[in-house]
């Protein structure tokens, strides 16, 4: 950066010189707002948790009911994210490659879980899969119980996680270069081989990112799960619900402990997503 010849050029400044006004005001407001709304309350949570100490946190996590809830949350979120990756890839592929009547409508519908309030999704899924519901009744005849079991949680988490996978993979499918597929076909690969050996590896980083986003959202999800889950302790209780239960019992230490474990998990997932993207940028030259 070329600086004017005055002596001020050597003075270190926090921001690069600019003729535009308003930096101090907007930067100050941004920091103050973030500090009060986001950082201060989160810092207090971390402070309270550090007061518990590592062994205090461990004791909370090892309490059988908490351990069961954490296990349920992580296991079911993992399963739901995996299912979302498979069907999300198909949906993203169909939406970006094929033209058929109603494609635009289908594309818009994918965002429904982002727009529909979680409580609404929760009660409608619960009604849908209840033993007398539209899907619950035929499933009950077949001997499958979804509502008030872990399968119910799975259904709800598939619902909330799907758009994360589709919206992460879709732009990448649109940007795939036709030359690669053509080259593969010229070299004698069948269509299936091209998809499996050429396209899927290119989409892998986006699929992994989508998986991580859906997983993180699943672990954090509350509203759409609690109605269909039935919330039986040790069976279909999720970790966020247990925070609410602990709060209702005025067990602030317990609530803080579970919240901290979940917060640590979210940061770990954020880190993993950044690593995937850094790796992908290095390997493929794009995110």
């Amino acid at each position: 950066m070329s600086a004017p010849s005055s002596t001020r050029a050597n003075v270190w400044r926090f921001r690069a010189p600019s003729v535009l006004p308003g930096f101090a005001l907007t930067f100050g407001c941004t920091l103050a707002y973030l500090g009060l709304i986001v950082i201060l309350p989160l810092a207090l949570l971390v402070l309270r948790a550090s007061g518990l100490g590592f062994f205090g946190l461990y004791d909370i996590a090892a309490e059988p009911r908490v351990a069961a809830a954490l296990r349920t949350s992580f296991l079911v979120s993992f399963g739901a994210a995996a299912i979302d990756v498979v069907f999300g890839l198909i949906v993203a592929w169909v939406l970006s490659r094929y033209d058929f009547p109603g494609r635009r409508l289908l594309d818009a519908i994918v965002d429904l879980p982002f727009a529909l309030p979680t409580a609404v999704a929760g009660i409608s899924l619960a009604a849908l899969y209840a033993p007398n519901g539209w899907l619950g009744a035929p499933l009950a005849d077949a001997g499958i119980k979804v509502a008030f079991t872990r399968a119910g949680i799975l259904v709800a988490l598939i619902f909330v996680g799907l758009p994360f996978v589709v919206r992460t993979v879709q732009p990448l499918i649109a940007e795939l270069e036709a030359e690669l597929e053509e080259a593969s076909a010229t070299l004698g690969a069948s269509r299936f081989q091209t998809v499996r050996r050429v396209l899927l590896p290119l989409l892998a980083p986006a699929l992994l990112t989508g998986f991580a986003l859906a997983f993180a959202r699943g672990v954090a999800e509350y509203g759409s799960v609690i109605f269909i889950a039935g919330n039986l302790a040790y069976v279909s209780e999720i970790a966020p619900l247990l925070i609410v239960v602990k709060l209702e019992q005025y067990d602030y230490a317990g609530a803080t402990g579970i919240a901290t474990i979940m917060l640590a998990m979210s940061f770990a997932v954020l880190l993993v997503i950044n690593l995937i993207q850094a790796w992908s940028r290095k390997r493929f030259g794009y995110v």
Partner: protein
């Protein structure tokens, strides 16, 4: 290579190229997508309206005219009326600082702005209980001054601000970054004040992205459940937002009323999706930066 050596390829999908799937595979994949989306997304949406109208339009309207339901609608509108403008102002300020200037630690700041998206809504509620609750940091001070934040409207507003504060910022920041500072600098050289440059040059450039962010923030603000449920205290007619009222009605087995009220939120979601799709279709370029990230 001579032109004649390469036969002109027909535009797809006239005949199957080596880089297309067979017609059967296509049909199968489309069918799987339709079935999956129908089963997991469309059906739950349809249930909301079907259950709400199960006992007819009369019962539906009666449920909406209930005084507790009306109070919850009023509270939700009040909360959104505070939260959405506050977060829009925050998003614009943050975008101006981040996009128009360069300073160290910018990526850290952007990460901090996005942070609420990766925090569980329940945890978002909990942290405000830790700060303002009766056993919290300011709890005794607040009660000594007869002020209440948790279990009343200010707590609901704070928790909703937390969960929705990234929406506008994350749409507007990439957009402003892409547009650079040249136009504003030109405006300043021509004698415009900083504010005038912002209003007449920057705002028109980002208006669709801003609207997009506001739309998403509003949908989330009106529909937030987890965070609000922790700080609200569920006092009927006072601190119940629409989603919380839906929960109470549902748990009381007042199914028709619960789904009638829920259908309002589902309608809001549909309108949001409709406007969103329209913006993405008509103003794709104007909002693209936010989605290219």
């Amino acid at each position: 290579m001579s032109e004649a050596a390469v036969a002109p390829l027909p535009k797809r999908p006239v005949a199957r190229k080596a880089t297309d799937e067979t017609r059967l595979t296509r049909a199968l994949l489309i069918a799987v997508s339709l079935a999956f989306l129908g089963l997991f997304l469309v059906l739950p949406l349809a249930v909301v309206f079907a259950e709400g109208l199960k006992r007819g339009v009369g019962a539906y309207l009666e449920a909406l005219a209930d005084s507790d339901a009306l109070a919850s609608i009023r509270l939700t509108l009040i909360v959104a009326a505070i939260v959405v403008p506050a977060n829009a102002a925050f998003g614009l300020a943050a975008a101006w600082a981040v996009a128009k200037f360069s300073f160290p630690g910018k990526s850290v700041l952007i990460t901090l702005i996005d942070l609420p998206f990766s925090v569980s809504p329940v945890v978002a509620g909990l942290i405000y209980v830790l700060v303002f609750g009766s056993h919290g940091l300011f709890g005794s001070w607040l009660s000594a001054h007869h002020m209440q934040i948790i279990f009343s409207t200010p707590g609901i507003v704070l928790a909703t601000i937390f969960v929705t504060c990234p929406f506008v910022a994350r749409e507007v920041i990439p957009l402003m970054q892409e547009q650079g500072t040249v136009e504003e600098e030109a405006a300043l050289t021509l004698g415009a004040s900083g504010l005038a440059a912002f209003v007449t040059v920057t705002l028109p450039n980002i208006k669709w992205g801003l609207l997009y962010g506001v739309l998403l923030a509003n949908a989330r603000a009106m529909g937030e459940f987890g965070a609000v449920s922790v700080v609200s205290g569920h006092i009927r007619g006072l601190t119940n937002t629409v989603p919380l009222q839906v929960e109470i009605l549902y748990n009381e087995y007042n199914i028709v009323a619960a789904f009638a009220l829920a259908s309002l939120l589902a309608g809001l979601a549909l309108v949001t999706l409709g406007v969103k799709t329209f913006l993405e279709w008509r103003h794709a370029e104007a909002i693209a930066a936010g989605r290219r990230r």
